[in-house]
Point group: C2
Chain length 299, copies 2
Amino acid sequence: MGVLVVGSVAFDSVKTPEREANDAIGGSATYFSAAASFYAPVDVIAVVGNDFPLESLDFLRERQVDISGLEIKEGKTFRWAGEYAADMNDRRTIDTQLNVFSGFKPVLTDRHRAHDHVFLANLDPDLQREVLSQADRPGIVACDTMDFWISGNRASLLSTLSRVDVLIINDQEALQLVDDNNLVRASERILELGPRAVVVKRGAHGATLCTRDAWYGIPSYPVTSVVDPTGAGDTFAGGFMGYLAQSGDRGVGALKRAMVHGSVMASFNVEDFSVRRLVSLTEEEIADRHARFLEMITP
Amino acid sequence: MGVLVVGSVAFDSVKTPEREANDAIGGSATYFSAAASFYAPVDVIAVVGNDFPLESLDFLRERQVDISGLEIKEGKTFRWAGEYAADMNDRRTIDTQLNVFSGFKPVLTDRHRAHDHVFLANLDPDLQREVLSQADRPGIVACDTMDFWISGNRASLLSTLSRVDVLIINDQEALQLVDDNNLVRASERILELGPRAVVVKRGAHGATLCTRDAWYGIPSYPVTSVVDPTGAGDTFAGGFMGYLAQSGDRGVGALKRAMVHGSVMASFNVEDFSVRRLVSLTEEEIADRHARFLEMITP
């Protein structure tokens, strides 16, 4: 089984305490599909401007990611700029330019519609529902969101949440979504909004899974040299959804195993700027780290 | 086997976003011994002023904790006051009054000296070594410390660290100790200072164990209602050392299991102010939560 992702393909400018990268290849769909491609076939729906160097996505094509759903529009590509604090965990957004993303209307082909696994990356929740309304009957839909939509388009976001199976969200945004200060309680309250599972990404602090009947938590894989955390959340989601598609299982046990795979993929991504580490990554490296990580988290 | 703890018995004044408690019973030795007593016999070495209501420690006596090593000195008991941020994880110290603790000279009896498990709670590192120098040949010595000694008495602290087996320390202080911004790297660097294991307590974010050959991480037990985190670190250490003493094992497997027990004990402690939850706690509750937690962290 494959995975359909709708999200951004973008230019990122990232500043960390030690280094910086300007106009590097980024975007939620880029990170997600690179990670998921190690587990399952991936179709991407996104949009770029005619300023985008398409050859920079060759590494995705080589990994059998289908980017025929990438629309090229007259105009400029989505741009994001951010800066990380000394702990490499907190960050602030310096600039966001939607550019060709404003006015983007995704159109799904028959092939896209038929996917059983759909990931709605962080986007305008109206757009997320537009994709869902065109899809046939996906067995599992996961989505991400961010502070911008939580405060700026809340009603629409709640409407999207009522139609997804899994919300994959970072810790601060989980708290913001339900106006709480306790992540466990916040996760439980998010379940009341619709999703049957909430995955909270906590950066270097790990990730937790909450369903009506189960709770599961893992630390982050211990990375000694975090170069650039950008895309870690989308890479996590890619490993998570990719594993679910590969396994064809959607029980709690599978969700738990998917968290471990997501975490492993994210741990690679932070080791270099942009998608560099994902470009060089091999299946052997993933299998090796996955085995080591399982040992590190098994009581 | 039993555990010897040297630490504080104190009055704590705690302010949280919703409530506050003044001059409540606290102190590292109090929290530690209450938790450890569920696993093994505990001897306490500490000092209080003659303003301290000794009957408030009756719950420890009922749990067979030997507090005959509690010295009662003319003067005032150690006092700490702190305030927690909205996330109940970050806190700031408002006031610390050493009082009878300044000038305290612990004297170990033959019974104390013979202990195989020793915990040196957060204290002046000179005092920590004084206790060690009187002990016979403990099989496992663990210690805690804090920013005050890291910056104020570093040479002495390093001397203590070179003589302990396990450092149990919180995340911010681990980073401060070796002036790093990455907890994994910081843990590895702390091993070079002497301990064969470093346990980093990360509050609501879990705990990690680092030895020369192994790394292990667990999330915190999911508590929906955190009332007062004061003493969580010492309660963790109590469950950790108590389990090691009970098991008589000091291999990496035992250290991992001890982390889980420490985490369970800390999760109870934060559910109420001061030592209230530890006073009402039963062995059945611990066994039940321990089993549930194991399920929550097993991949």
